[in-house]
C-alpha cells in the first residue's frame, strides 16, 4: 500500500487500565476514502480504540498516524478529526445552524463563509430549512443528521462515528445507513465507525475490523468476514453458524464427522494440521442445502426435529443420523417456497448436502466460546 494513500495507520497500539489490558497490539490502516467499521460485542474495547484514534484517551503503547503524521500524544484538537457520538452531544441551547457553525466560528471564517458553509451542509444532510430548530424540536434521525453535519463542518481528514445509529428506531436506522454511506462516498472522507451491529457493519463498511477482548481478530472486507471468518468467535458473532465439534481430519480435504466423511475445500481447511487431529467443522445455516438434485458427495442423512417460521424462510432443526453417536445437530435455512414444494414436516427424514466450498474447519484449539 502506498503510504501517501494511507489516511490512517494504527501501529501496535495498546491501552492498559492498571493491570487490565483494554486493547493490545492492534494494527491496521485505512486508505483515503475508505469506510472502516470496528465491530465487536460490548466491552471488547472497540470504543476505546476509537477514542485512542480521536485522541480522547492516551494509549499506552504503539503509534497512531493520521495523514502521514504521527499524532500519538497530540490532543483531539490537533488531529483534525470529526466525531459523531452515540448521544449526538448536540448543544441543546443552540439551533441546528449554530450547532453546525460552532466549529467554524472559532476558525476565523467570515460571516458569509459560515452562512454559505452551513447552508451547504444542511443541504448535504437533507435538512434544508430546518436550521432554526433546536435539537429538542428535532426527531432522532434529524438530530443525527445535524450531528453529522456539525462534525463535517470543519472538513476533518478523518470522520469517527461512535455507534451513530444505535439510538434510533429500526426504520430510521435503515434509511440513515444508506444515506451516511452515500454521503461518505461522495465526500470521499476516510471514516471509522464503531458498532456492535453486524448488519450495520456488513452493509456500510468497505472493511470490517472484528475486536474480541481487546484484540483485533480479523480485518477484512464484509465478504471475507462473512464467508471466511478467521475464528469461531468471528463466525458466531457475525451471522449464524453451525459448529460441528469433534470432527477428525482424515487427510487434507477430507474429514470424518459422526461416521460420515465430508470433503472440504482446501482453502477453507486447516491444511497445517496433521491427519487425526480433532477439528470443528462449521457451516452457515443458509449453506445447508436440501434436495436430491445436488449430487452425491457430502450428503448427510438427517431428521427434521423442529421448524421455525421466519416469513421468507424456515429455520429447520435437523438431527444427523449417526452410527457412532446421536445428538449431532444442524440448523438449515430454507426458502419458504422450497419447504412448501418439498412438503417438509417435522419428524421427516431429510438428507442434506454440505457444499464442500462452504464448509470451514477450525483446529480444536480455536474452539469457540
Amino acid at each position: 500500500m502506498n503510504t501517501s494513500d494511507t489516511s490512517l495507520a494504527v501501529e501496535k497500539v495498546g491501552k492498559k487500565y492498571g493491570t487490565f489490558a483494554a486493547l493490545s497490539d492492534v494494527s491496521f490502516s485505512a486508505r483515503r476514502g475508505e469506510f472502516l467499521s470496528i465491530l465487536g460485542p460490548s466491552g471488547c474495547g472497540k470504543t476505546t480504540l476509537l477514542r485512542l484514534i480521536a485522541g480522547l484517551e492516551s494509549h499506552s503503547e504503539g503509534r497512531v498516524i493520521i495523514d502521514g503524521r504521527d499524532v500519538s500524544g497530540s490532543p483531539v484538537s490537533k488531529r483534525n478529526v470529526g466525531i459523531v457520538f452515540q448521544s449526538y452531544a448536540l448543544f441543546p441551547n443552540l439551533s441546528a445552524r449554530n450547532n453546525i457553525a460552532y466549529g467554524l466560528k472559532s476558525r476565523g471564517a467570515s460571516r458569509e463563509e459560515i452562512v454559505a458553509r452551513v447552508d451547504e451542509l444542511l443541504d448535504l444532510v437533507g435538512m434544508r430549512g430546518m436550521g432554526r430548530k433546536y435539537p429538542a424540536q428535532l426527531s432522532g434521525g434529524q438530530q443525527q443528521r445535524v450531528a453529522l453535519a456539525r462534525s463535517l463542518a470543519v472538513s476533518p481528514g478523518l470522520l469517527l462515528l461512535d455507534e451513530p445509529l444505535s439510538a434510533l428506531d429500526a426504520k430510521v436506522r435503515l434509511l440513515l445507513r444508506g444515506e451516511i454511506r452515500q454521503l461518505q462516498k461522495r465526500l470521499g472522507i476516510t471514516t471509522v465507525m464503531v458498532t456492535h451491529d453486524q448488519e450495520e457493519a456488513l452493509t456500510m463498511a468497505d472493511r470490517i475490523l472484528v475486536i474480541e477482548k481487546g484484540r483485533l481478530v480479523q480485518d477484512g472486507t464484509p465478504h471475507d468476514i462473512y464467508d471466511r471468518p478467521a475464528t469461531p468467535f468471528v463466525a458466531s458473532f457475525i451471522g449464524a453458524m453451525n459448529f460441528i465439534p469433534d470432527a477428525v481430519k482424515v487427510h487434507d480435504g477430507v474429514y470424518g464427522l459422526g461416521g460420515h466423511h465430508v470433503q472440504v475445500g482446501m482453502e477453507n481447511g486447516s491444511a497445517a494440521l496433521p491427519p487425526g487431529s480433532r477439528v470443528t467443522i462449521a457451516i452457515r445455516p443458509e449453506d445447508v442445502l436440501i434436495g436430491r438434485e445436488l449430487g452425491s458427495a457430502n450428503i448427510v442423512p438427517t431428521t427434521v426435529s423442529a421448524m421455525e417460521y421466519r416469513g421468507a424462510q424456515f429455520r429447520l432443526s435437523l438431527v444427523v443420523h449417526s452410527g457412532e453417536r446421536s445428538g449431532l445437530r444442524l440448523d438449515a435455512d430454507v426458502a419458504a417456497e422450497k419447504v412448501r414444494r418439498l412438503q417438509i414436516r417435522p419428524e421427516m427424514d431429510l438428507p442434506v448436502h454440505l457444499p464442500f466450498n462452504r464448509l470451514r474447519v477450525y483446529g480444536a484449539g480455536e474452539a469457540h466460546a
Binding site: 503524521r69 457520538f85 452531544a89 460552532y102 463563509e113 435539537p135 429538542a136
Partner: protein, 592 residues
Amino acid sequence: MPEGGLATEAATASARARVDDGFWARVDGERWIKRLLIVALCLWLGVVLVLPVLQLLVKSLADDQGGFVGLTHYVKYFNSPNLFVSLRNSLVVAVLTTLLSVGLGFGYAYALARTTIFGRGLLKGVAMMPLFAPTLLNGIALIYLFGRKGLVTTGLFGLLPGVDIGVYGPVGIVIAETLYAFPQAVLILVIALKMTDARLYEAAQSLGASPLRIFFTVTLPGVRFGLMSAVFVCFILSFTDFGAPKVVGGNYSVLATDIYKQVIGQQNFSMGAVVSVVLLIPALLAFIADRLVQRRQVASFAARSVPLIPRPNPRRDVFFAFYCWLVGGAIVIFYLTALFASLVKVWPYQLELGLWHYHFSGTGGGGYSAFFNSLRMSAYSALWGTAITFLAAYLIEKTRQLHGLRQLAYFLSLAPLALPGMVIGLAYIFFFNARGWEIAGVFVANPFNWLYSTMAILVLCNIVHFFSVSFLTATTALKQMDREFETVSASMGVPFTKTFVRVTVPVCLPAILEIGMYYFVNSMATVSAVIFLYSADLPLASVAVANMDDAGDTAYACAMSMLIVAANILVRLMYGASTAGIRRRSQAWLTR
C-alpha cells in the same frame, strides 16, 4: 471532493493551516490550562479552608502566648464535667431536632411532591421562610410566642387561656432548631420524592399492594438516600447552631454556646479552639457517614425512569392540605409575630403600632448602613461565590486531568458542610490576622494578612461557609449535561473556554441563579461566621440583630430581621421571575 465547493475548500485550507507538524502540535495548551486551574482551585481551597482550620487546630494545642502545650487543654476540657453535659445536651437537641424536622418535613415534602393539593408553590415558599431570617430571629419570635409574656403563654394577652410550655431551655432550643432545619429537610426530600420511578408504583399497584404496603416497600426505599441526607444535614445544622441556644437556651449548655462562653465570656481562645475541635468531630463523622452512603447511590439510579405525576385523590389531598396549612401556618405565625413585635412600641406593655423601631436611632449595630453593607456583602458573595463554585464544580466534574487532585478538591468542597459558622469565623480570625508563622525556624510572613477586616474576608468567609450546598447544586446540573460536549468541541478545535461560555453556562443558568440566590439569602442572614470578622467600617445587619438583641433592643432586632427577610424575599421573587423568564425564552431547548 466533488461536492465540496468553495466554502469547503476555504475551510479545509484553514483547518490544514492549523494542523502543522512539530512540537506545538503535540503540546495540548488546554490540558495545561485545565491542570493549572485545578491546581489553582486546590490552592484556593487550601488557603480559605484547610490552612485556617489547621491554624485553629494549632491554636488548640498552644497556650495564650503561643507556646506549644500539647493536649493540655484537651485533658482539662475532658476532665471537666461540663463537656459531657454540653455534649449530651447537644446530642439530645440534635437528635430531637432531626426527628422533628425530618418527620414534619417528610409529610410536607410528600404533600408538595406527591399530591395535587392547592397552593403548592406558596406552601413551598412558606417552608423556605426560615432560610431568609437570622436564626436568632427564631429564638426571638419564640419568646414573643411562648415566653412568659408570649402570645401563646398569655393567651393573646389574656383573651384566651394561655399555656406555658417552658420555652427557656431544651424545649425552646428544639423548637427554634426545628424551624431552622425544616426548610433544608423539605428541600432535600422534595427532590428525592420527585425522583422516584413511576413504574415501580404501577408495578406495585398491579400486584395488588395496599397503599400502606406500597409506602413501606416502594416509597420509603425509593427515598432512602434523600432521607439519610436530610437526617445528616439536620443533625449537623442543629448540632452546631449557636443562635437559638444563645437566645432561648437559658442555662441549658450546648457545645456551640460553650465556644461562646470560652471566647466571648472568658477570652480563652485556646479552650474555644478545643471546644470547636470537639464540636467538629461528630459533625465530621456524620459528614463522612453521609458521603459513604451517598457514594452507593450512583449505582441505584435508573437511567430511564418515568417521572411520577401525582393524580388527585380527595381523601389523601384533604388530609395533606390540612397538614400543610397547619405547618405552613405555624411558620407564618412565627414571622408575623416577629413583624408585629417590630411594630409594637413596648412589648407587652404599650401595644401601639408604628415604625418606631425602623429608625434604628439610639441603638447600636449601625442601622441602615449595616443593612446596606449586608446587601453589598451578600451581592458580592452571590457573585463571586457563584462564579467560584460553578467553576470548581466544572473543573471537578468536566475535566479529566489530575484525577487525584480533583478527588481531593471534591472532598474539600463538601467539607464545609461539617464546619459550624462559628468555627469558620474563629479559624479565619486566627489565620488571616496572623502576622506570619515560624516554620522550621524560618519566619514566613502571612501573604493574606491584608485581607483582614476587609469586605473581602467577609465575602470569602460566606463563600466557604455556604460552599458545599452550592457546589452540589452545580455538580448535579453539570452531571445532567452530555459528557461529550467537551470532546465534541475539542474535536472541532473549539477551546473549552468557549464551550463553557456558549453552552455550559447557558444550559446551567437555572442552577447558577439558584446558587446565586442561595449565597445571597444565606449571607444576609448569617451571624455565626461573620460576628468575629466584621470591622468598624463594615457593620452588618445580621450582626446588628445579634448586638441589638444582646443589648436588649429586641424590637430593633426584630425590625432589622424584618428588613433582612424582606430583602431576601425580594431576591427570591427576582430569582423566581428570572428563572420563569429563562424557561419561557428557552422553552425550545429545555423541553426534552
